[in-house]
């Protein structure tokens, strides 16, 4: 029959296009690795093998170290805030069936605007003259003079974080909401009959059931937050100075403004290693936690 002859190979056939992509991906990784051990520039790639010289340079590069630090701080802070806020909103709203569609739609809005547009939006919001943040702070008498949030190295990072929090809290909210809505119905009735108060139910029943999902939300979002680029580009371009220069941005600058692709490649490899390490630690930690509570 026609079926059996093709069928055996169908599974493999099906993933051939994907394999091509994977090969391309791996090719990229090899390419980057290769670049990192050579003296390459944008115009002249693979200009000469120099061993680990780029890596040594990276280890001594204080700005790179700083950019890694900023990447971590940024990711951890925003993820934490977004997860907590998202969780609180979901907790407050998951029983509100009637406004469900409305809430879900507006929750999606910050998520689906291009990060550059959001960057531009917040640039506007933070602007000393034209932005409403300064406008209303002044009006309410909280400050005397307008603050240039983005131009002030003390506030810039926080400002970028705030913009990211605005964009991604709804995402965490939606995921936490889904977790709440997938709670089983019956045990809650049993708890009511057993006489449990709202707080008791929450502490003993709800929290243990949603907490694993919340952890996943946190990890998921953390891995995404480590990649931040668009927002930084639009809002501060890494500045003022280097106060918002996260790792991905620094690499961009090295590769595409100073054109030192070899060095950039080594930075890329190091950053990737760090992210991989974090991801591994977190996944292992989560597995350990899940097994411990069995």
């Amino acid at each position: 029959m026609r079926r059996s002859s093709i069928d055996k190979h169908t599974p493999t056939l099906m993933i051939i296009p994907m394999l091509v992509i994977i090969v391309v991906f791996l090719g990229f990784l090899v390419y980057v690795l290769g670049l990192s051990v050579t003296n390459s520039t944008l115009a002249k790639p693979f200009n000469g093998f120099i061993g680990f010289a780029n890596y040594t340079k990276a280890f001594h590069d204080a700005i790179f170290g700083q950019s890694l630090k900023y990447m971590l701080i940024f990711a951890i802070v925003v993820t934490f805030v977004e997860t907590v806020l998202g969780f609180l909103f979901a907790l407050a709203l998951y029983t509100a069936v009637t406004s469900g569609r409305f809430i879900r739609t507006i929750a999606l809005l910050p998520l689906f605007a291009p990060a550059v547009a959001i960057g531009m939006l917040w640039k506007l919001v933070y602007d000393p003259g034209s932005g409403f943040l300064n406008h209303y702070l002044l009006q309410l008498g909280i400050i005397q003079d307008p603050i240039g949030f983005l131009g002030n190295s003390k506030y810039a990072m926080a400002a970028v974080m705030a913009a990211d929090i605005w964009q991604w809290t709804p995402f965490c909210f939606l995921l936490c909401l889904a977790a709440f809505q997938s709670l089983p119905h019956d045990p809650y009735e049993a708890a009511a009959v057993d006489g449990a108060s709202g707080w008791q139910v929450f502490r003993r029943l709800t929290m243990p059931l949603v907490f694993p999902a919340v952890i996943i939300v946190f990890l998921f979002r953390l891995l995404m937050a480590l990649k931040v680029f668009d927002l930084v580009f639009m809002l501060t371009y890494g500045g003022p100075g280097t106060s918002t220069q996260v790792a991905s941005f620094y690499i961009y600058k090295v590769a595409f403004t100073t054109f030192k692709t070899g060095y950039a490649a080594s930075l890329t490899v190091l950053t990737m290693l760090m992210i991989a390490a974090i991801a591994t630690v977190l996944t292992l930690g989560r597995t350990y936690y899940m097994n411990r509570t069995k």
Binding site: E189, A192, V193, G195, L205, P208, L209
Partner: protein
Amino acid sequence: MASLELKNVWKKYGDVVACQDVSWRCEDGEFFSLLGPSGCGKSSSMRMIAGLEEITEGEIFFGDRNVTKLPPRDRNVALVFENWALYPNMTVYDNIAFPLWVREMPKDEIEKKVQWAAKFLDLTGILNYNVKGLSGGQQQRVSIGRAIVRQPEVLLMDEPISHLDASLRTRMREELESMLRKLGATTIYVTHDQVESMAMADRIAVMDKGLIQQIGTPKEIYSHPYNEFVAGFIGEPPMNFAKCELIKANGSLHLKSESFDVQLNQVEIDKIAKYKGKPQVNIGIRPEDVSVCSASTKNSVGVKVEFVEVQGERNILTLALAAGENFLVIVTSDIKPEVGSSIHVLFDQTHLHIFEAENGLNLTY
């Protein structure tokens, strides 16, 4: 423990009426069953007793207490849910201990009570297991454990064994019965399985379409069903029915149809003496109250044998009456007529029920 009474309870979901003017009383320590097909209102009644549903109209009393407006936690009821509703993230111990923990009982007291419940239900071995991995029977026992551990005034059970395999169900039924007798709690047992009800309950309330059809002991309901619904619902194999008319002939009353002409004896005539309605009636008679006889016997009915089911010490004959009705008759195992043959049967008039065709009421009640 206390008595439980529903007074004129109505439950409406918008325009849909789930319970119509339901009233009944169950005494302290009684095993009372709510029985009926799905949608009859038994689950709604139970949920209203527990406080999980609001009562549209009417009142509920636990003993002297009017609990109509009280939330579940103030009623001191325990409910064994149909799907057990165990707390999924907790162990067996925690599930059973939960209601006690809620009441902030000291730890050692909780320990004592949980151990007692566990022993009672043979759960001591799995107390530390998470409930997720347990079998159906085990989960059900945990659910019961959680219910009995705090000695509630009223114990409600909502179809607790309907989700178990058939063989397990029979075993659990027996265990449950002895268990509940030992406990001595006022128990309301909701089920759609009349075998369960009949076997376990002190009294049964049969419901259909939101209305109470009849309340009585199993024996009463079995032998003296109030209407056609109850008659047909109770009993396995179910009661036989046939349409006919009440006719006065030759100075006596006859039940006459295409299939038969039965002259009523005096006892029966006395029973329906006051009846002045239409002559259209349905008769009902249980398979065990029909016997095989000879053609010459008075009031015998001619039938054709459709099917013979051999069941060991007895046989069940499926017989076709002249007008096409099928009757089931239980006979001793030596009676084994040929399929297709014509025989005669006799209705035992002491157990013959006559139902008014229009409203199904039992005239011989």
